[in-house]
Symmetry: C2
């Protein structure tokens, strides 16, 4: 409710020029200028102007906005949103901003918001609430909705059941197109998204699907069994990464989720899967870079440090092994100081070759292009690649030693050592992800300091063995 009158601000910078769309949002760039205006309007308590601006924004842009204002600003702006919009905004907010907003919403307001959300978003939201608040919300919302939210909370967060929505338009295979249209209208009246309907038999078992749009082109008297298309479905316990692979492989826009009796219990839309794919890719990249958690842009310096430190420490103590390796060869190190010059190159080549082969296997396992059944074939191929690249690099090292140090004998030994180091690192790099997958550890962690550290110690060991052989 407006508390004082203020002029309706026309801000040509972040409003789009063209004003043809009759109602609803525009997409805007949430930049410093818009943020400055918003902060000033909050400061002036200019509710009408803010309501006007917010009415024009997509929930995703409002979420962007909330991420960039202080706690008081968040509280003020959220107070202006209708429960429906607030729900969509909450679903788009990042982890830490969402926690902040949830902390100052009353259970009553939360209840209204949860009832406005589709079941999957509602379940996600309830899962984030402190237990007593969550229980209170579930007690207050409609029994039917509470039941569907509670059933969703039972599935693992990363499974098909954990990310599906329960709002599904189902029709019987014996229904006519006309009946299906009537059911679609009822479904739409409940404010639900109308895109695909699933055809089930009398036991609720999935028989097929039809885009709702196809209803307008089919004769009204035809049975659904005649017009439906065959459906690809997923089981509720399937991992979300597998669901993403299936949706990608078969170019689906949504996929029905079935229980073990093939009954439709929900569906996953591709927009949720897009988030999953991005999340999984980001997670893989973070793990490959040796980060022990998801770093948010908004995390504090100390929180970020905690995410990065664990693998650095693993690397630290791993490299102590390298120091021990060097110490055990102190005699030969002392003898020919020149061999120390090539410690960096031995380490770097082993490290790089290992990261390359492991990245290929890790990504292949994630996208389903590499199967653990083909481990022997993969390793044989990696050995081939390692030998080709190893020989080329070794030839260069031999050349450098012969030319720079004028010592062809040392060059030969150093070159041979490098060949063995590269071959070993390439194969170790390809092998470790398979082993980790066998033990159900995410293979992506392999490509971080793990492989680098292993290859550093092994590489130095190999190098100094060769050196020792030369001088003994």
């Amino acid at each position: 409710m407006p508390q004082k009158s203020d002029p309706i601000v026309e801000s040509p910078v972040y409003r789009q020029a063209d004003g043809g769309v009759p109602h609803g949002f525009r997409t805007v760039e949430v930049d410093e200028e818009l943020l400055g205006d918003i902060r000033e309007l909050i400061h002036e308590d200019a509710r009408i102007s803010l309501l006007n601006i917010l009415a024009d924004l997509h929930p995703a842009d409002i979420a962007d906005l909330l991420e960039n204002v202080d706690p008081d600003g968040k509280r003020y702006l959220v107070g202006l949103l209708s429960p429906h919009v607030a729900g969509d905004v909450l679903a788009e907010l990042g982890e830490s901003a969402r926690e902040e907003v949830l902390s100052f919403l009353t259970p009553e307001k939360l209840t209204t918001i949860v009832s406005e959300l589709e079941s999957d978003d509602a379940a996600d939201l309830v899962a984030k609430l402190p237990k007593p608040v969550a229980d209170r919300v579930l007690d207050t919302i409609e029994a039917e909705e509470a039941a569907s939210v509670e059933s969703l909370l039972k599935f693992p967060k990363d499974s098909a059941g954990g990310i599906m929505g329960t709002e599904v338009l189902k029709v019987f295979s014996t229904d006519t197109v006309k009946t299906a249209i009537r059911k679609a209208r009822e479904f739409a009246r409940r404010g639900l998204q109308l895109d695909v309907l699933y055809v089930v038999d009398q036991r609720g078992e999935l028989r097929g699907f039809l885009p709702v749009g196809d209803l307008v082109v089919e004769g009204p008297g035809r049975r659904m069994a005649k017009v439906m298309k065959p459906a690809v479905s997923v089981r509720a316990d399937l991992d979300q990464e597998e669901v993403a692979n299936i949706i990608e492989k078969y170019d689906l826009v949504s996929v029905p989720v079935v229980n073990d009796r093939n009954q439709v219990i929900g569906r996953i839309t591709v927009d949720d899967i897009v988030d999953v794919i991005k999340e999984e890719a980001t997670e893989d990249i973070e793990r490959m870079a040796g980060l022990a958690g998801t770093e948010e842009t908004s995390s504090s310096v100390f929180a970020t440090s905690r995410i990065r430190l664990p693998w650095l420490l693993v690397g630290f103590f791993g490299e102590m092994l390298s120091a021990l390796v060097l110490r055990s060869f102190q005699a030969s190190l002392d003898q020919i100081i020149a061999s120390a010059f090539f410690i960096p190159i031995i380490m770097a080549m082993g490290g790089n070759a290992g990261i390359q082969s492991s990245a290929i296997v890790v990504r292949g396992l994630a996208t389903g292009e590499v199967h653990s059944g083909k481990i022997g074939k993969r390793l044989t191929k990696e050995a081939g690649i390692a030998i080709v690249n190893g020989i080329i690099l070794s030839a260069f090292l031999f050349g450098v030693c012969a030319y720079w140090l004028g010592d062809t004998r040392f060059g030969l030994v150093a070159g041979l050592a490098l060949l063995v180091v590269v071959a070993n690192a390439t194969i170790v790099g390809a092998l470790i992800p398979f082993i980790l997958e066998r033990f159900e550890v995410d293979p992506a962690i392999a490509t971080g300091p793990f492989i680098t550290t292993t290859n550093d110690s092994l590489g130095l060991l190999i190098y100094f063995w060769f050196i020792t052989l030369l001088y003994s």
Copy 2:
């Protein structure tokens, strides 16, 4: 056409048990058993059995199958496919298998296949053909289709225009729902996917959109201007990664592509974007791991070696710098052999810290979470993280030196050097991706051997400076 009679094979292993779906495909696992059966049937020239099996498979599974049989098998199987299915299969095939299949299709067959495809897939296919064959195909297909394929070929491959399809259902804002339904029926009669319609004004400018399914719930006499929803659109020259970010942010299932007069010239569906997101993530991971191209599981050993070798060579010559650094400090290296023990740890800590900070910035730039405008803020934060982690690691190194070597003075110097190395590497790691982006080079290449090599040389330089200071 069958050449000899053979029994229709019922293979319960790769057919699903449930036979309720009236027509169309099942999804199957393309495993060794199915492959073995297929190879045997090809060998026996059992066309009817093969036709039966293929009729049951999704084009994506047929593509899987083709990837796993020899060239003769590919030729045989492709000969059994209808042009419509062959087109879908070609769109799903990997690069090298597709080239192989294209090489033994006649221009006539290619023309039939191209006319069956939607414009975006057709353009992709034509782009892969040798110039004379492509021209011949474009000369033979219908003029209208050739024009739309040729117009698509003009857009950069990675832009919105390059990945869009031109088959769009457009209705006027003055049309009634009834008229829109008639237009939808005509559209469907041409065999085109019916999901969303775009509302345009008399000049063809985008006004809004409506899911086709919504037509069944609206009153037939209502004007489209009243029932349409506001549409998010993208310009044809927008980079596909940006398109993916917009589709993800606003949870879209498809997005209309407009020219600079806001006229709808095509649309991009989310299934194409899912491929883009996976491709871009894979590309980022590959570049971060120091691979100079996309490695396919099917690439030969030498092809793969060519992809991996360039960055190894960059690393190689980069590490020659490290060797020169070590050589220039030969005196002090000679003096205290102990300092050589810690070369690996100095290099590894610098490398790991640099990879961590660069991975965060690279991924953030790709997903749009990090903006180059915020470079100062980002670097300040990285400096904070670097100091926190650097101090902890330095304390450990000091402890190790004091305890192991019994030399607290050396421990202090080595610890201080490590702190500076980690701080430097973290900031360099975060800075380089920003610089590369400024020069329009993909920041992902930074996180490979580039940063590692830079940090190795800089790290050793810093370390031995400190050592020299200690002993001078």
